[in-house]
């Protein structure tokens, strides 16, 4: 089971800033281990965000995104108490969803 994300969603007027920290190795597949063997690629491929169950963001990621990635985006029309859910899926098919309440 992958480690949980940290999600913060702060509303200011019409706009809500969502900050997401994901815990992921993000291996490029280009590095080698001390024995000289290639470390297999392992990275997040798809990120989606939902506001009260309605998709507001989808992103396709690749191996150039850093380890433990940080994502920030602004969503319009969210109010305090609304639910923001973020899901990622990596190239191994592992997935993780976490939810935060807009404050």
């Amino acid at each position: 089971m992958p480690d949980p994300m940290r999600i913060r969603a702060q509303a200011a007027g019409d706009k809500t800033t969502v900050r997401v920290l994901m815990s992921h190795e993000m291996e490029t597949g280009l590095r080698k281990d001390p024995a000289g063997k290639t470390i297999p690629a392992w990275f997040i491929q798809e990120v989606t965000a939902q506001l009260n169950g309605k998709p507001v963001l989808t992103a396709e990621w690749g191996p150039s995104v850093s380890k433990n990635p940080f994502l920030q985006f602004i969503v319009k029309g969210a109010k305090a108490g609304d639910k923001i859910a973020v899901t990622w899926r990596d190239n191994r098919g592992e997935t993780r969803t976490d939810e935060a309440t807009v404050s």
């Binding site: 480690d3 949980p4 940290r6 900050r19 920290l21 815990s23 993000m26 850093s66 380890k67 433990n68 940080f70 994502l71 920030q72 985006f73 602004i74």
Partner: protein, 273 residues
Amino acid sequence: MRSRLIAFAAIAASATATVPLVAQTPPQPKSAADGIAEYRKMLEDGNPAELFEAKGEDLWKTARGPKNATLEACDLGLGPGVVKGAWAQLPRYFPDTKKVQDLESRLLSCMQSLQGFDAAEIAATPFDKGEQATVTALAAWISSLSRGMKMALPQKHPEEKRAYELGKRAFFYRGGPMDFSCASCHGEAGKRIRLQDLPDLTKNPGDGVGFAAWPAYRVSSGEMWSMQRRLNDCFRQQRFPYPGFASDATIALGVYMGVNAKGAESIAPAIKR
């Protein structure tokens, strides 16, 4: 991501716009330190150290080890189970082990006495592997509960005073193939390695600098580093043999730096390049 790009664009635009206005007096070039400060500021909001804090809190409260116990009875110096503020007063003398201990060595003691782990085995484990990763995550969480507090290491006990003097000697001790001491780089203000400013650790280097900034997340390597690991790397850069994880010499250096930093505000766990 997008808002960052916009921020960059805005900076670039304003820079070109202001140049003609101050053509008489050339604008102060942005120093490397300003650039790094700006970079840290942008990363502050998303410090991945938070992921380690969450992990550490979990590990503290989870029953683990051969004795299947939590660490909640661990005394970090302010009484069993008291975590808030403990980090700002470490390293300190502990009567039960009769030793001056820093956070990491104290955690080893607790993991041995409460959970039944073998402290010597953990100390010999490479960083980020096995229970070493546990110690790092715990250190991240424990230090986060002292964020914003001022460093206040006790110096009442004779052993604490002895550790300070020992640490001072270790700090100024020159050796290794390059004849370096800690003081070669950290003994006066205004020094740097490459673009990194080096704090003067013989006195209080300021809030959130030096001892008051570790543990920290290293963006370049994507790793969480405790003070012990920071010291390990200092020794490596000096081409000096590492005295060992949680060894007396590293703890004494911690006491020396921590006591010197008295009154400095802690920002640990910080974020580093």
